[in-house]
């Protein structure tokens, strides 16, 4: 179902005149869709500070408490977190912010590394981005299972899946995905599956520099694209045979 058509140009269309990455399937007027995190809001200032303490304390509310104190605010500031997102615990807010923050980093990485666009082949770009995103996990790898257990709590699953979809959508978009029918969905679904399984694989990975994880990603991505190619070939073959059959019947019909 995946269309792995050759790219029309090596430099993808997403590099637009103003230098930013704007999604053409969103309105060009909504430039804010690239601002995953509003850096000026007090929430993100506190959370950004809290990220520094994750490697030490894990994904716990102590990180947020400590961040508030480091920023010289009083504990009363914590009220805005209980108020802002109804029914979401502080810990899960921290996990969600962490995911968004890494997604923003991925965007910054793509924007500031022109060499990324020189990687030929959508498949290779996808692999590269997923590996890059997994690298961002390295500093907190010991605490990551805590975040994942937060993400799979049934109450949280809708928000977790949304964030996972956003990530795979970003990866597909930066890699210049050209799919336009059902393959649009199946590709993103496939990328989400690959990312989630690679992250779980990474938790158990003891190889130096997470080399096994990297090859795991390569293998999974290439499988997905092979599957897509196989499906496309099959579809083309079926279509060709169906048309030939129709033509054959037609010509026999006319001969009487």
């Amino acid at each position: 179902m995946f269309r792995t058509s050759t790219l029309r140009s090596v430099l993808p269309r997403i590099k637009l005149s103003s230098g930013g990455l704007y999604r053409s399937y969103h309105s060009q007027d909504h430039l804010g869709s690239n601002n995953i995190i509003n850096k000026n809001s007090v929430e993100s200032r506190v959370f950004t500070k809290a990220l520094e303490f994750i490697p030490e304390k894990g994904f716990t509310k102590e990180c947020i408490y400590k961040a508030v104190r480091e920023l010289q605010y009083s504990d009363s500031l914590l009220s805005i977190f209980s108020n802002s997102t109804v029914g979401i615990s502080l810990e899960f807010q921290l996990v969600l912010f962490w995911l968004k923050y890494q997604r923003q980093r991925l965007l910054t990485y793509v924007e500031s590394n022109p060499s990324f666009f020189e990687i030929s082949g959508e498949e290779n770009r996808v692999t590269h981005l997923i590996q890059k995103r997994l690298e961002f996990n390295e500093p907190v790898i010991g605490k990551l299972s805590g975040a994942i257990s937060q993400l799979i709590i049934p109450y949280h699953v809708d928000k977790s899946l949304e964030e996972l979809h956003n990530l795979s959508d970003d990866v597909a978009f930066y890699s210049n995905d050209q799919s336009n029918d059902f393959s649009w969905y199946s590709k993103r679904f496939g990328l989400s599956t690959i990312y989630a399984s690679s992250e779980v694989y990474m938790l158990q990975d003891n190889s130096p520099k997470f080399r096994s994880t990297h090859s795991f990603v390569e293998e999974k991505v290439s499988n997905m694209y092979q599957l897509g190619e196989a499906y496309n070939s099959f579809e083309e073959w079926t279509l060709f045979n169906a048309m030939s059959t129709v033509n054959l019947i037609k010509s026999q019909w006319h001969r009487g």
Partner: protein, 293 residues
Amino acid sequence: MLPHLLSGVKTRGIRGIKHLGLRCLSNNSNHDTTHFGFKTVDKNDKEKLVKGVFSSVASKYDLMNDTMSFGVHRLWKHHFINRLDAGMRPGASRPLDFLDVAGGTGDIAFGLLDHAETKYNDRLSTMTVADINSDMLTEGEARFQNTRWNDGSDRVKFMVQNGETLEQIPDNSKDVYTIAFGIRNFTDIQAGLDQAYRVLRPGGIFACLEFSHVDNPLINYAYQAYSFSMLPLMGQLIANDRDSYQYLVESIRNFPPQEEFKGMIEKAGFFVPDNGYENLTFGVAAIHIGVKL
């Protein structure tokens, strides 16, 4: 029992619904007048008029609240306290200083202290209850005598203070400023918000629970019909004081809607997080939050 100052308030009953235009009339004020319900009064008089209302309802305040809101006001206050989730977290360097303005009967103040103690084991944070009306404050102090905070530790203070000036509260001295169903009665709401900003420390939070406006026209119709016809009647039957409750209903109508009030909080200098307010019961009441940075 009715203060003579109130005698100028005309009783409108259900006809009040048809008097929507009066809001514009009273908004059309010069600098020397303000609302007192739907009536436009001299600014210098409103304070006295409001004082009259609350002095006359003080003793039956809770009974009336329960009857009129079917007990829902307790749920709102409970939710308000839980949402704020205030309290000294373990490992904090200093306790928090709460200020509950217009908190005469003390239900928010005691609720906040109770929450901080049960959830965060915070037995050090202090509470100042300020109210312009000494009769309401006396109610609160009487209740305080029987609470567990009356242990000689001097954590809870009561003081008669005008919320628009707060002259006995120093700058940057409080962490949490709460006001529940009080700011509506201020002569100059903006001045009250400015004072809140003044007394809070950086990182301090302003939280306001107040009647607000219902968006849904159908529910609003029912709500207006109930409040304009039933409330003054109940006031008459239970507290023998129709005019005070007439004032209550009219002052609710005159209070700015959610977005406008949010704008006023921002104007005072506060940062308003996310969408800034939370509607309770379709918007009959709303919680507004602001942070001093």
